[in-house]
């Protein structure tokens, strides 16, 4: 009996360890593959040309700066929408809504998250962009704004799901303590519950940003794919070209091993590094050592 238990222990431990390490191994392997295929771009194209402002690969203009600014402006716009709506909805669901409303609304929000992004892209072309063109008197509705609105809509369900779970996990004693000290409901939420759920909420936002910056299909359909350098504030109203849409649109036509091929992988590498940077920043906040008071109370 003891012997078979030990056997099972060792096997199960080994299996679980493999699963855990494999996640890290896969990410490292992907990173090395991107490096192997993307670094030759630095050898074949001068760094100054890579950071130029013109992207027209069939005539050897490989400036990726418009693509980076395109992705960034759409991501920033999407997060400006997703952060208030996402956290607001999460706070409403966990702190303010009555139990029965929560039981209905939470599955509905998660249903919205299950919508395929290409369907949202189609809605964007048919409904959102004509509306934007008429409502804001723009030359065309296929702009970074349309992309940001769609991506905000895509990021909100992810953010709400996780943030709401994090807020729910805050012990009742925190809220009761605050209320006992005379705080109003809003003061409790804003100054006690949210800071206590900080790590979960930040994880939710991180996942939202990750989803947004990697989104391909929806942005390819509604942002117009014009490689414009989007640095002014009014650039949100102009068409842009994201890094993801570039890779999706052009990877099919490149000859294996050509300069264009290497530059596309270099763009993938840049995307990977941006996501990595976002994750590292967020986890450095999440894993900061908790204050002594927090440790004592929980």
């Amino acid at each position: 009996m003891d012997k078979s238990l030990n056997w099972r222990e060792t096997i199960l431990t080994a299996v679980v360890k493999t699963c855990g390490y494999s996640a890290v191994v896969f990410v490292i392997l992907i990173f090395f593959f991107l490096l192997r295929e993307g670094i030759p771009a630095l050898a074949e194209v001068k760094l100054g040309d890579l950071l130029a402002a013109r992207w027209y690969p069939i005539e050897n203009h490989f400036g990726i700066l418009p693509l980076i600014t395109g992705s960034l402006i759409v991501t920033v716009g999407a997060m400006l929408i997703a952060i208030p709506f996402g956290i607001g909805t999460a706070v409403f669901l966990s702190e303010i809504a009555p139990r029965w409303m929560r039981e209905i609304l939470k599955p509905l929000v998660e249903l919205l998250g299950g919508l395929p992004s290409v369907v949202l892209g189609f809605l964007g072309i048919q409904v959102l962009s004509p509306f934007l063109r008429v409502f804001l008197d723009l030359p065309t509705g296929l702009t970074a704004l349309a992309g940001a609105l769609l991506l905000g809509g895509i990021a909100v369900p992810t953010t709400v799901s996780i943030a709401e779970d994090a807020l729910d996990a805050v012990p009742k004693s925190y809220r009761e303590g605050a209320l006992a000290l005379g705080a109003t409901k809003w003061q409790t939420i804003w100054r006690v519950t949210l800071p206590a759920a900080r790590s979960g909420v930040l994880t939710a936002l991180m996942l939202g940003i990750g989803r947004t910056i990697g989104e391909t299909m929806a942005v390819m359909m509604v942002t117009g794919n014009a490689p414009v350098l989007a640095v002014k504030l009014t650039s949100i109203f102009s068409p842009v070209r994201t890094m993801t849409a570039t890779i999706a649109a052009e990877m099919g036509e490149v000859a294996n091993g050509s300069t264009h091929y290497h530059v596309l992988f270099f763009i993938g590498l840049v995307l990977f590094l941006i996501s990595l940077a976002v994750n590292i920043t967020a986890s450095s906040v999440v894993f900061k050592s908790r204050k002594r008071a927090e440790r004592v109370l929980s």
Partner: protein, 294 residues
């Protein structure tokens, strides 16, 4: 109970494994030939219509047709992964060199002709333009419709993606007016839409838009807002049609090509001969393209 479940699971796995092998396509024994056809999105409907008709008449041949753009098809031919590449532009010399370096000398066949129609929104009063005016619109020199005789509206330029043969052909013939040394490029704010349908959609509902596409892709409701094009300000403004392409009066007409890996033989040769026959060329006319002159 637990062992019974285990036995059931294992036997189910065995059954699915057996089912997998019998589900293999029986084409190696039934079809005597399998031809793969890839490339131009302009030609994809045409290639599909040809493939369907040919397979009805020759059930022993199996054809697969995919799009992806002329660039994609040519790249696949160069990499040796496709039998016939459809292209709405000629192969560039670098592509030909790379193919020959891979041991795949490309052979070109002209299978149809096509006109590129320039379309505007039906509300737009502009109905004729010279090649130079279209070039200036797309390169960013003109930014308002009033500069070419229209309303005071900003110009929104629509184009296909860079992997499209239509895009490359338009760049060479219209933006650069056929001059290989001309460095003019599309303006950076040209919208590069991933499909013809996207262009048609935007032109249909945006009064500021101008777009271009193959004549076969212009829907009925936009046929009245096709621009008549003249080679220069003195020349006649010509609307694209089968007759104006065949007598070379419409300046933006092109050949559609199929490239094979080396001289075609066997089933591929029979297929290409059939494509050049009157029966297949009638399909060309049905789809809005221009049949090659016999």
């Amino acid at each position: 109970m637990k062992s019974a479940c285990l036995i059931l699971l294992v036997s189910l796995l065995f059954l699915t494994a057996c089912a997998g092998s019998s589900g293999q396509p029986s084409s190696p024994t039934q079809a005597s030939a399998y031809i793969q056809n890839k490339g131009s999105d302009t030609m994809v409907n045409l290639a599909l219509a040809w493939a369907e008709r040919y397979q009805v008449e020759h059930p022993d041949v199996s054809l697969s047709v995919t799009g992806g753009g002329s660039g994609t098809g040519i790249a696949a031919l160069v990499n040796g992964t496709v039998d016939i590449a459809n292209a709405s532009r000629a192969m560039k010399s670098e592509e030909k060199q790379q193919a020959e370096a891979n041991g795949i000398p490309p052979v070109e066949f002209t299978v149809a002709r096509d006109a590129i129609a320039v379309i505007v929104n039906p509300e737009n009063p502009v109905r004729q333009l010279t090649l130079q005016q279209i070039s200036d619109i797309y390169s960013g020199r003109f930014n308002n419709w009033s500069e070419v005789g229209g309303d005071d509206r900003p110009i929104v330029r629509l184009s296909r993606e860079t992997n499209s043969g239509t895009h490359v052909y338009f760049l060479e013939t219209v933006l650069r007016l056929g001059d290989k040394t001309n460095p003019t490029l599309f303006s950076t704010d040209t919208l590069l839409l991933p499909s013809s349908e996207g262009i048609i959609n935007e032109v249909r509902q945006n009064p500021n838009a101008i777009g271009y596409d193959g004549l076969g892709y212009v829907p009925r409701d936009l046929m009245n807002s096709v621009i008549a094009v003249a080679r220069d300000a003195s020349g006649p403004y010509v609307i694209p049609s089968i007759s104006t392409v065949n007598d070379n009066s419409y300046p933006v007409a092109r050949d559609l090509y199929m490239y094979t890996a080396g001289e075609p033989a066997g089933a591929i040769k029979d297929y290409l001969n059939w494509i050049l026959s009157p029966e297949a060329q009638a399909i060309v006319a049905d789809l809005g393209f221009v049949p090659i002159k016999p």
